[in-house]
């Protein structure tokens, strides 16, 4: 998009061909905060509108996945999870993973799914992937209740460490957004992307210590390379914050740096391409 100065005093909008790389206009985004709210609200509302079980799906999904992985990896393959019961071990990882997975799925198709808005109305385009991810956050909040119930059943204590879940959740969201910026933008031109996302997520899931402990990855260089996957830091962080499992080390920092690089580049790529969305989508 062109440089649009939404100046609340005189409200002069200028139109010109856009050139070069643009940063993100936070003031304009603030101006459109209600639209972010309404689009998020729409996504949540529509998702559960005709589902008889409604919001229960947000709980059912992790329950079922936990059950399956517990049977296959915990009971049949007997993966060693230290002192933690396997279901708790895997559930703590599955919750942020599902958050990430759903966020990435939704955001990568968000632009194409909202093509009618892109071609008819101006607003900062970034709102589209942003609100699709925010809507997923509601599911996540509900699924957290499940986690606390399970912890109660297994008599695991909650500590103040639990506050770490907030920045860790943020890291998971930012990771999804970072990849989402790239994929949603590419998907506008190349619809192959939406076919690719399920595969990408499958590979990504096995590259994250969800069904197995990180300890099976050799320490040293390989572990660091492995930690470039931001979800490694998130999942390990969740386990630590909840069960005081092995505390996060440098891996979390490596993850965070990787996310930031991906996020900033994704953002610039998105801003660079967004002027063409209406013409191409």
């Amino acid at each position: 998009m062109a440089e649009h100065n939404v100046n609340s005093a005189s409200q002069v909008v200028t139109i010109s061909p856009s050139k070069g790389w643009l940063g993100i206009d936070l003031r304009e985004l603030w101006h459109y905060r209600e639209l972010i709210y309404f689009l998020t609200w729409r996504d949540i509302k529509v998702r559960y509108k005709q589902a008889t079980l409604g919001v229960a799906w947000a709980i059912l999904q992790p329950v079922v996945t936990t059950a399956i992985t517990s049977i296959v990896f915990g009971y049949l393959l007997k993966v060693d999870t230290g002192n933690l019961p396997y279901p708790v071990f895997t559930l703590a990882a599955l919750l942020p993973w599902h958050l990430f997975q759903l966020s990435l799925q939704k955001s990568s198709v968000s632009l194409v799914g909202n093509a009618n808005l892109l071609t008819k109305i101006y607003f900062p385009r970034i709102i589209i992937p942003l609100s699709s991810v925010l809507a997923v956050l509601v599911d996540f909040a509900i699924s957290l209740i499940l986690l606390f119930v399970v912890m109660l059943i297994f008599k695991l204590p909650l500590t103040w460490n639990i506050l770490w879940l907030i920045p860790l959740t943020l890291l998971a969201i930012l990771t999804a957004l970072a990849v989402g910026f790239w994929l949603s933008t590419l998907n506008v031109q190349y619809r192959d992307i939406q076919q690719m996302v399920p595969f990408l997520l499958q590979v990504w899931m096995y590259a994250t210590p969800i069904v197995y402990p990180i300890t099976i990855i050799p320490e040293g260089t390989i572990r660091y390379l492995y930690s470039l996957n931001p979800m490694v830091g998130v999942v390990q962080g969740f386990r630590w914050a909840l069960f005081d499992d092995s505390p996060p080390d440098m891996t979390l920092l490596v993850s965070a740096v990787a996310v930031m690089i991906l996020l900033i580049s994704g953002l610039f790529f998105f801003r660079r391409m967004e002027k063409t969305f209406a013409d191409v989508v």
């Binding site: 409200q11 139109i15 061909p17 808005l117 892109l118 013409d279």
Partner: protein, 428 residues
Amino acid sequence: MDNKTSILVKGISKRYKIGAAQERQDTLRDLIVSQARNLGRFFSGKRGLSDKYEHIWALRDVSFEVKRGQALGIIGRNGAGKSTLLKILSRVTDPTEGYGELRGRVGSLLEVGTGFHPELTGRENIFLNGAILGMHKKEIEARFDEIVDFSEVEKFIDTPVKRYSSGMYLRLAFAVAAHLEPEILVVDEVLAVGDADFQRKCLGKMGDVASSGRTVLFVSHNMSAIQRLTEESLVLDKGRVLMRAPSGEAVDFYLNRGLTKLGERFWEEDEVPANSAPFRPLAIRIVDKNEQVSDSVRSVDPIRIEIDYELTEDVTGLRVGYYLFTTHGEPVFTSFDTDAEDMFREYTARKAGVYTSRCMIPADTLNEGRFVLGINASSYGIRRYFQDDQALSFSVDASGAPGTHWPESRPGAVRPSLQWTIEERGRA
């Protein structure tokens, strides 16, 4: 830009790639294939990268200015660049060149009901759509009752809009849009929807907006709406501004230039929608007293209208006819070839073949001025095969008609020669 100016546009151009039609790159595979091909060309010394795409200029060097509180109409044929211009001014897409400035809060209605979600209720969609159009939650709440009132869907406000009839849907959508209160309103053809009653209501509302001191840019194919709502209009053709004039003049110019080919109009095969089969229009023409095809006829002479068409199958219940409009879009009359009862009996079933339906408009029927013929072919109550509301236009010259010894223009679309008697009832 002085402070009375509301919209300033300088040298706006927009270029689209169209070569993509021959070599689409909508999937990665296509991209990979075409890149490989380019690489091949590169090595074989044939550099063909730049001629891969053809470009078209949807807009070329468009400049204009709109004063605060002025309503400007934009007219032109399909593909003239009207919608592209509005898209650029609405910031949906960027210009390739040029510069523009809009002073004040801009509300743009490129369609009504943008972002409506079928699963959400009327109430929910009002809020969603309002937010998409740039209204704040508080504004929507404040005007909520008004919006519902205007839409006339009160009873169904908590029903998902997927259960609405299309009329209800449009009314609700327009109601939200109508209660947007921007300083600059950009509107594209949104009045072309809904039934006649609702259209009138929408036009009224638009009139209010235009007269309340807001700046309005208005694109429409409805020439009478353009003339009612705007003082001045731009005529666009092939992406360029042909003229800017008071709307009456601009409309005349547009109709005279755009539609006529000397009293005859042919339809090429690709101009006819596929779903009009088995009816295919071939031509429509105006023939004067001297058997000449002409776009300028005299009021005092009879006029013949001929419609050539082909039926690719036998058709029952067919009627072929025309609407006659003034250039302001007001209907004058409608007539079909099987209106007369004996014609109906004889021709209601027609075999496949090529036909011409001829109609005589008797002398002393039309007043001077410009008229537009619309064509319609349908089977009553079954289906409409083909309709073109602006098939052809022609002008009528009134010289010699009743009353022309007074050099004045007579209002009205018809100028019949009527019998008068004058009786002296006594002496003063």
